[in-house]
Symmetry: C2
């Protein structure tokens, strides 16, 4: 019998208890041992639950109980989660977490501590919810050099964009609907401004390239400025707008990283990932492109990923899984101005004819998107060039009295 403690009884934490209960027999069979929840730490009272007597409010009970060999952290955020996990590892307990904010900010520190103590620190649920991604990336792709990762990593924004694309709903209406359905928080900033996706691409980049990347190193844009016009132009071009987190290894071993809404061609599988679903594309030098697709959030999917990690801990007591990455630094992530990309630009303030002439002159050539825009608007796909060159050209267009309504990266081979 292995005893575990669950910290936090919110959506994921209660899901962990549910999954362990519902699939008890199969889990015990696969772990070769029964797994029992000994404590649940939560400041709230849950007197009506059948397992009410497991609730405690004092973390030191867990810390000091040698019978607890695995601690599952599901409270989210940095504090007090970081302190609890650190103390758990120091007390000789392996830790499983679903906390992407914590892993993105403090992953290296905690992996280092786990390594020193020969313990596991696992976080499959921190990216992609129920989608297996951490383990495949670290194990199945182990014979590859990873060249690039690109993912639809946030279900809320993908739901909103899907409603805009498929139902012609405005951003505001789609956000409101997501909030009504419980798919978006009342304060949606962490989703719609790209911070959640940023944390997840940081975790994937750290794992694939084995050095810690911090969220504040990554250029991050949200989807608030996407309009139905942009969606229509993207469709006329032959793709959809998706919020992507991307990381690519450059020739000098530095990383180009970005979180931003991008145009994705219908030829690419990622363009067809709709609603709250997530998908992560990994390009290896031997496998080529591999894509992992599924529900990126939700109580049971996320909880099942947590429990899979718990099973792995049970099977690897005293045998570390070798999940690890080194410290990061400012050199690792390149200045986003150096990134090479084609841009989608939507311009206004002149006739379509004049806009075309101006883009022609500024870029040397252009690909105008034919769509039912207004008289005084036009959209273009530019050639591939560095972001600093794009910015210089866009400024020169502004100087001519042209309004740059939107400028979005085009995802693809550059």
């Amino acid at each position: 019998m292995t005893y575990i403690a669950v910290i936090g009884h919110g959506v994921v934490g209660s899901g962990v208890v549910d999954v362990l209960d519902q699939n008890r027999e199969g889990i015990a069979h696969r772990a070769k041992e029964e797994i029992a929840v000994k404590y649940i730490l939560d400041l709230r009272d849950f007197n009506n639950l059948p397992y009410a007597k497991k609730f405690i409010k004092d973390f030191s009970v867990i810390e000091n109980d040698p019978e607890v060999s695995i601690v599952v952290e599901c409270i989210g955020g940095i504090n007090p989660a970081f302190d609890y996990i650190r103390r758990s590892l120091l007390a000789g307990k392996s830790v499983v977490t679903s906390n992407k904010e914590l892993v993105a900010e403090k992953g290296q520190e905690l992996l280092q501590l786990a390594k020193e103590r020969n313990l596991n620190f696992l976080f499959e649920a921190s990216v992609g919810g129920g989608i297996p991604i951490i383990r495949p990336l670290s194990q199945c792709m182990a014979a590859n050099e990873v060249l690039e990762i690109a993912g639809i990593l946030n279900g809320t924004t993908n739901f909103i964009l899907t409603k805009m694309i498929k139902d012609n709903m405005s951003f505001d209406d789609a956000l409101k609907l997501a909030q009504e359905l419980g798919d978006a928080e009342r304060d949606p900033s962490s989703d719609v401004d790209g911070h959640d996706a940023c944390r997840k691409i940081c975790i994937l980049a750290s794992l694939a390239f084995e050095r810690h990347v911090y969220p504040n190193q990554v250029h991050t844009e949200g989807i608030r400025n996407i309009t139905l016009q942009d969606v229509a132009y993207a469709n006329a071009w032959g793709g959809s707008i998706k919020l992507l987190g991307t990381v690519k290894k450059c020739a000098d071993n530095r990383l180009d990283m970005c979180v931003a809404p991008m145009l994705v061609s219908y030829d690419n599988q990622l363009s067809r990932v709709d609603d709250v679903f997530n998908a992560i594309l990994c390009r290896g030098n031997a496998t080529g492109d591999v894509i992992f697709y599924g529900r990126g959030a939700g109580k049971l999917p996320t909880a099942s990923a947590v429990v899979a990690d718990v099973i792995d801990c049970v099977k690897h007591v005293n045998a570390r899984k070798y999940l690890y990455w080194g410290t990061g630094d400012n050199w690792l992530v390149r200045d986003p101005d150096l990134q090479q990309t084609a841009l989608y630009i939507r311009l206004s303030g002149r006739s379509a004819y004049e806009l075309r002439a101006a883009v022609d002159m500024a870029y040397g050539k252009d690909l105008m998107i034919n769509a039912d825009g207004s008289e005084n608007e036009a959209a273009f796909i530019t050639p591939v060039m560095g972001m600093s060159d794009h910015n210089r050209i866009l400024d020169s267009l502004r100087e001519k009295g042209i309004t740059v309504e939107n400028a979005l990266r085009v995802f693809g081979d550059q």
Copy 2:
């Protein structure tokens, strides 16, 4: 330093040597140890290769060399692969294979032997080439009860169907093109008649449901009788025809299994998997649907999956990975006549009006597909019912002088 032996220097075997060489540094880093190929067993001579001196022709050299701790089998087929693997395990060596035929026929026996000797027998590359699927299914989904698996498991047939769907090419022309491109064998039977896909769904089913399923237990149809008419009707209905391998757990714990071309709605991600790509959908009771997508074959993708298994063996010397399933029996797989499904049927020999009336009467109701068929042809989607009932009804239509041109399952929730 870990020494391995590679049996067979064909496409996959030579790819394994290449991947180990190309990604040497990263692999050694991840395995925490250098991996060196000590022997390559092949009956042919490869005198011009820089590593020509590693070639041997006598398996007993490998068997009797205690320095070799891992044997990689890449010759395919049952004999002599089975004998080599059995003797390797008996000699205390872990084994990695890409041989789906062998795993599908002899997997249980070899897993049992590996278990008794506390060795690993791993076969990530046997299904889905470079797509991580064996490990995610056995580890990441470990907290789930798997309800269903459905996969596009054969790249050759998917390439042929894609050419038929997208380029309006006939089956014969598409097959010829695949052969010219090297994507199909000169004797294409194992691909186009569904046997290859059958072996792979057997492996996935055995792994997910933990009892050996043998290929001869699974109703298997190929794609030779798919015509461009069928493709057009499927498109008019709103989907594409894909060769799927499927397994579903029934209420009585038996399995409904099938390999056959099926209509897949455009709403389902599997309908968009084109060319030589494979994709595997796993439905767990907690995760919901998860899909794994990538190149299902090819030298480097497959070899990279083999090498990932080798790395795992190196990291788990004296610590088995717990891949295992029990023996099978005739009870496990249900009579295919009991399977519940809707059918797509294409009928001829009467006017479309008369065909409709006949289907209406036979099925109680019908969904006719409107497409540019000939005068004396029509296609329908039937209600969901058991295959034995379908067969009875189709026979009754035949008795009325109607020709059943084709009858294909409709994939989906039944």
